[in-house]
Every structure is written in structure tokens, then in C-alpha cells.
Point group: C2
Chain length 328, copies 2
């Protein structure tokens, strides 16, 4: 049955063997069921109350089962306002629901509210772990997480090198492309050699700002599926303006004081201002676009984003420099 749902969805991760009851039952009925077949249940945190149509009507904690009077009716005790997921809900979202509402298990229902199963606490713990590990390794350009996690010493060098190489080779090609771009600007660079000296700084700063903006946006998206992306985008523009202005002014000032060249200081300041804003916008637009295309926004992070940003940063930097050197 579980293969009906997409990989990494709630439907794929749910189990069905949990304690259930109907609203008309009494606490004593549930106790009896537990004494008879507790071992059949995979998880024992909650008793799920299902009405005669199969709909999820409420939930009862195990504490209530122990402590409430034997004769009291389930429907009078149960919590009716139950947090629930749909079978197509992404597993990371299920884990975040559990975290947010401090739940041990999250019930899964279909669009008619028919109870389908439960994603239990140990599965939720595992989901949260693997999703976060995936995010962390993606930063590092590694995708075959299961193979290398905690197992570096157990694998031969050839396997480990093969896992680490693909994005590095891709990065190398991107870097060659970037080098080609720089050679186009040989003219202005030879005249003002110090511009070449600032290439690492400009590229590094665009990356640092871009990674920050992207990390925060992806986290905001993961934690709040109804995030107003348009509002977020406007806010990010404002933040990036403030950051770009401060960093640009700071760089212009220090490089003028340290290297004694006013025109270079201005070129650097303006370039950093523009590249920082550009990096922030890309950081929000790419994941937004990916989410619109129903792809995992986190895919846009990591080495691919870095190369795109680096090449764009170099183009901005040298365009600004070429243009401004004509006037100085």
C-alpha cells in the first residue's frame, strides 16, 4: 500500500498498528485491549479515536487511559483538535509538525479525513536526522549520504574519492569558465593590477552573503509552508540593501586608506554593493523558483549555486571596473 505515495512522503513512512478505539467505547475497553495485545502495537503513545466512517475523531493519551475513571466515555475525554498530515505531505514537514506541537506521533488522514496511519516517534527522529544530514552534506557537494555517514574508515579510498569528486570536477569546469571571463578583462586589469588582487575578496564576499541569504530562506520555507514568498523577497531586498551599503562603504574606505587609491576604492565599493545585492536576490529567487517547480528548494544550495554566483560576480566586478576606469 505504501508505494502508492511518493518517496519521502508521510504515506510512505506511516504505520498502521497503533491502538485505536471508537468514540462510544469506555476507558475500560481500551485498557482491556492494551492488556490483550500491547505487543502487537508498534507505538504506544496515543490511542487514536476513529468514528464509524473511519474518520479520525480525536486522540487520547496513554496517561488518560491509566488515570481516568474506567467508566468514562472515550468521546468525553478525547482531544478533538488533532494535528494531522496528508499522505502526500513531505516527511520533513511531518517532523517539523511533531517538533512544533511537541507530538510523539503524527496521524495521517486522506482528504475525507479517513484515518490512514501514524508516523511514529522513532521514524520522526530518523527523518529529522536524515533531512538535516542531507542539507549539511549538500552544502559540501556530497549526495550519497547513506554510504559515507559514520563509515569513512570502513570504505576503500577509491569509493570515498569517487563520492567526493563529481561536484569538484563540475566546480573545476566552472572555475575554468570564470578564468576565461577574467582574461577578457586583461586590459583594465593590467593597467590597475590591484583590481586583480581584490578578486578573491569580491568573490568570497558574494559567496558569504549568498550562502547566508539562501540558508535563511530555505529554513524559513521548510518551517513554514505558507510563507509569503513575495513579502519575504521584499524584506530580503531591504536587508540586502542595508548589508550591501555597509560592506561597500567599509571596503571603499579601508581600501582607500590602505592602498591609497581613491578610484580603486570607489570601484571596489560600488562593485561589492552590486554583487552583494545580486547574491541576495539569486539566493531567494533560485529556491523560490525551485519550489514553484515542485523541486526541493535545498537543491539550489551547494556547489552549483556557488559557481553561478562566482561567474556572475566576476562579470559585475569587471564591468563596473571597465566602465568606471573610463571616467577616472
Amino acid at each position: 500500500m505504501s508505494n502508492r505515495y511518493p518517496p519521502e512522503s508521510a504515506g510512505r513512512r506511516m504505520i498502521d498498528d497503533v491502538p485505536k478505539a471508537v468514540p462510544e467505547e469506555r476507558v475500560s475497553d481500551i485498557r482491556k485491549r492494551l492488556f490483550e495485545k500491547a505487543n502487537d502495537f508498534e507505538t504506544l503513545n496515543y490511542v487514536y479515536i476513529i468514528d464509524r466512517k473511519g474518520k479520525l475523531a480525536g486522540v487520547l493519551s496513554l496517561k488518560d487511559v491509566f488515570q481516568k475513571p474506567e467508566e468514562s466515555k472515550v468521546k468525553d475525554l478525547m482531544v478533538k483538535d488533532v494535528i494531522r498530515a496528508r499522505p502526500h505531505t513531505d516527511q520533513e514537514r511531518v517532523a517539523i509538525l511533531a517538533l512544533k506541537y511537541n507530538l510523539k506521533s503524527v496521524p495521517v488522514v486522506d482528504k475525507e479525513d479517513i484515518f490512514l496511519g501514524v508516523v511514529p516517534s522513532d521514524v520522526i527522529l530518523g527523518i529529522l536526522h536524515s533531512e538535516n544530514v542531507e542539507d549539511i552534506l549538500r552544502f559540501a557537494g556530497i549526495s550519497k549520504r547513506d554510504v559515507i555517514l559514520n563509515k569513512t574508515l570502513q570504505f576503500p579510498v577509491s569509493v570515498l574519492a569517487k563520492i567526493r569528486l563529481p561536484w569538484l570536477i563540475f566546480g573545476l569546469l566552472g572555475g575554468l569558465f570564470a578564468a576565461k571571463i577574467v582574461t577578457f578583462f586583461e586590459g583594465p586589469l593590467k593597467v590597475n593590477f590591484v583590481l586583480a588582487a581584490f578578486i578573491p575578496l569580491i568573490v568570497y564576499m558574494a559567496d558569504a552573503v549568498g550562502v547566508q541569504a539562501q540558508t535563511l530562506f530555505i529554513r524559513n520555507l521548510a518551517l513554514d509552508s505558507r510563507l509569503d514568498a513575495r513579502k519575504y523577497f521584499l524584506k530580503e531586498i531591504k536587508i540586502s540593501l542595508v548589508i550591501a551599503l555597509i560592506l561597500g562603504a567599509f571596503l571603499a574606505l579601508i581600501s582607500f586608506l590602505w592602498f591609497g587609491l581613491l578610484n580603486i576604492g570607489i570601484i571596489l565599493g560600488v562593485s561589492l554593493f552590486l554583487t552583494v545585492i545580486c547574491a541576495c536576490l539569486i539566493a531567494v529567487l533560485v529556491p523560490w523558483l525551485l519550489q514553484g517547480l515542485k523541486k526541493d528548494p535545498a537543491i539550489g544550495s551547494g556547489p552549483f549555486a556557488t559557481i553561478v554566483r562566482d561567474v556572475l560576480t566576476l562579470v559585475i566586478y569587471f564591468s563596473v571596473a571597465s566602465l568606471m576606469l573610463k571616467f577616472f
Copy 2:
């Protein structure tokens, strides 16, 4: 009591109100206790069996309490080989123990094995989440995680910019330092301008390789506290040799074919070979050193590591270039 232990330790996160029993009791005694005071317990997953000296003797699952015969003795049913943590154990380690052994709660004992409390499942879920979020945000040079998580739209631009700026300013200063280094090599760079064009590539590759190596090492450390760091280091040297050789040869070949300069191709290949090895070694040595100093190895990742690596990479690149240009 909990303040006796360091922040983010098991001792700080444990609770004491869990079901307990002595080995001589019977299943019926535990049932009676649960019926009387289930609501007093914060977590109901396991019954912890404590002997007369206060030592943790075993554990009994709630399923057993329901299903085993009333008259059976606790000491005959309990699991004796219980996974446990010490109060000074790092909270991330506790979460990883729970994950590894599929536990809902992890008991905490002192060095005489006296039972102190339990880190419950919801706390473990929260620990795992916050530790991973911390790691992810640290990559992005952000530390005040609680303030901005999921709340970007609720905070004013000034606060958000202030959270994001510190490491960026630090990075800017590091970049200025790197620029100064590049100007020292103005001579060879002016003669062979194409060397300047490859600065972004060399810096980018050293970073990409360094981030990979460091991410994998920190994860290996987090998941296995008894990791043989010496063996790991030797293995990393081997892997880095393979990766450096492939990338260096690849770069030498392509840059020769694309730019048509044999000497530049050789300089680039040798430089990349050396910087990749250097980046891998730093990636393992820094966290290893930090762990030896009892600091969180993950601190060594993020913007600080990047700047150190970038500066070192530039020094290697230009030293190799200056030296080899004398012979070509």
C-alpha cells in the same frame, strides 16, 4: 540541581519524573503504580528498574507491563544491558545514542551507576533539531539561531542585518589581507597575467575540497566519539592524494588545451595539487585540535575556516608560480 552540569549536557536536559520500580517488585505492582499516578510522569515509554543502592539495574518496556503475567517478577523480565549516558555527556551525543539504538528515552547515571534521570523523547527530538540547525547556520556564519529561525518576516530589517553582518565584516578584513598578499606577487602576475585569471578557480577549489573534508570529519566525530582520529587522518591523506592528483592533472590538461600555455598548465596543476592536499589536512587537523581542547569541533567550520584556507591557498599558489617561473 540541573545547574551543576554544563550547558547542553545530558545532566541539564534530564527529568526525574519517570516510572520506576525495584527488581523485587512484580508486574502487578507497576501496573498499580501507573493507575495511581500516570499523570505525574512526564514520559511513559519505559519503567526504569533501580536497585536498593540507587543503581540502574535494568529497564522494562510499557508493552511488557501490559502483556506479561501479573505475578512475574520485574528482575526476570527486565532488560539488563541498558544504553546509558553520563550527566556530562554532550546533548548531541545523547540524541545520537537514541537514534543509533532506536530509543525513545536515554537514562542518565553517574560514575557509580546511580540513576539520576532520563532525557525524554521530545527533548531528544528538540536537541537533534537545534544541533543540526546550529550546524547549518554556522556554515552561513550566523550564530543567534533562536532569533531568526522561521521568523524573518517578524523582525525589523535592522535586527536581521545586525545578525548577518559580524562574520561578513570579519570576512571582508580577511579578504583585504588576501588582497595585500596578492599585491606582493605583482611581478610574476604582471608577466603572466593569466595567473591572475585563475585566482578564483584555485581559491574556489580549495574551499570546495576543504568544506567536504571538514563536513565529513565533523560528522564522523559526532556519530562516533571513539573515532580513531589518527587512522582517520591517514585515510584522509590517502583520499586527498587521489583527489588532488585527479583534479591537478585535469586542470593542467584543460588549461593547457584551452589557453595553450604549457608552463601555466603545469603551475596550475601543481598548485591545485598542493592546495587541495593542504585544504584536506587543515579540514581534519583544526576540528581534531578543537576536540582535543574540549571545544565543539564544528566551531572550526564556517567563515573563519574559509578565510584561513583562502589566505593559505593564495600563498601556496603564488609561491609555486614564482618559484616555477624562474625555471621556465
